[in-house]
Amino acid sequence: MITVLALFSIMLTPFAAAGLALIHQGLGRSRSAAHAMLGSLCAAAVAAIVFVIFGFSWAGFPGATAHSFAAGGVRWDWLAALPFPAGGISFQDPSALNKTLVLALEMFAAGIAAIIPLSAGADRWRLASICAGSALLGMLLFPMFAHWAWGGGWLAQLDTNFGLAGFVDAGGAGSIQVLGGLMALAIAWILGPRRGKFSPDGMPAAIPGHNIVLVLLGCVVALVGWIGLESAASIVFFNAGVQQVAGVVVNAMLSGSGGCLAALAITRARYKKPDASLSANGWIAGLVAGSAAGALVTPVAAIDTGLIAGALVTYMIELFELRLQVDDPGGAVSVHAGAGIWGLIAVGLFGHFSEGTRGGHLLAQLVGVAALLGVMLPLLYGGNLLIDRFLPYRVDNDGDWQGMDIRELGAGAYPEFVVHADEFVPR
């Protein structure tokens, strides 16, 4: 029963990728809409292939052989050491059922993590570079953190090695969302802002998304995917039963709702009218924050987590754009990295655990956040900078002006009814 439920939940997971892709393309410009969707498809495809061939052998699963080193009297298990490809799993071997479920879930998870940075690189990130960046994430960096958190790595062993509690990431808030969000930040830095986004004195210009209906539809599609992702991760990594999975479904809906309503109320209070795109970002931020806990928190705590995530995201988006001059058209850094970090901390604050102290759990979550910022961010940034040296990430100035659809695909997404009076006239 629970295995069938796990498989069904894994099969729902691609809806999270579909929802994010719809949101990204809706929040970008119409002249890059087809490119955004194709980029999402390519990112997921490349991440899936490299993850199955190389990544899974480094992500592993609890109890698998791993690379480790000794420091301070303990062994730091930092990377799995399974054979290539697919960790040597045979699909015909009945004893490998659980490992195959982990492989299937993590393959989709790598794809979702690879799609997130497209939001920050909208309208200027080249397709070939999207594939290269996704390969880096799916092959090495996602598997590394997935091993630490889910595969029995050093973060999962904080309880046995240091007497704290194991790092909890029930639905991928750290392994998928924060990792993807930090890569989005690295991409936004490397690409720089879109042409005309900031005036010479640093004031940002509003470049609104071209299709808010698709953005809001993407939120609903993403909810289905999130429910699948969180349920599957809870079953596969934390041995959740059917009742806990029902709890995951309830909490996912509640945290998403809390995030959306908080963003809606704050934008209503600040701008006199609710902002649809920020409310959509609040919805996703709530889902992201809630995905750290799954069913480990009460419904009230899930609402609180979502409310705080939704409120946080409205201010973070403003901070990144106005003060820090980071051009992130879809708000991925705030929604995925910011809300994800809050979600990981919220598990330590609100979680109900059968073992360990509240302080131990909170400390374990903080150590996980520190690992994401102190190890994964420099690796993501350095790795993408290195690729950028050989395969430039940013399209040239003409491409930025013309739109990615015409520049890279040779045809627009809406050839019959979208007219750019100035953009398509030769200068």
Partner: protein, 104 residues
Amino acid sequence: MSGPGKAHVFCAGRGGSLRLARAIALYWGGNIFQSIFQMNLIGDALRLIGCVLLVSGFFVVAAALVLMPALAARFGFVAAGLGVEILGLGLLMNGHKALEKERR
């Protein structure tokens, strides 16, 4: 960033490998030369220090786990490590801001 822009034609046989080595040296040499003289010193220094602080912050956190047995002391050191990381993140942000300002 492109190289010095010189076209080289390679032919097999005597002297071909020498010309190839010279071309590679010119290309990379040119890139390094350009990189040094086009560098935004403040922006690049801030980015470099920011990255170093991010990693250092993590080592403070790891050291707290290994060296501090008491929970309160560990909390203090982990908080300090996160503080160092946030400082590094701030420097990285400001480094990029300085680079963008120069680009504009």
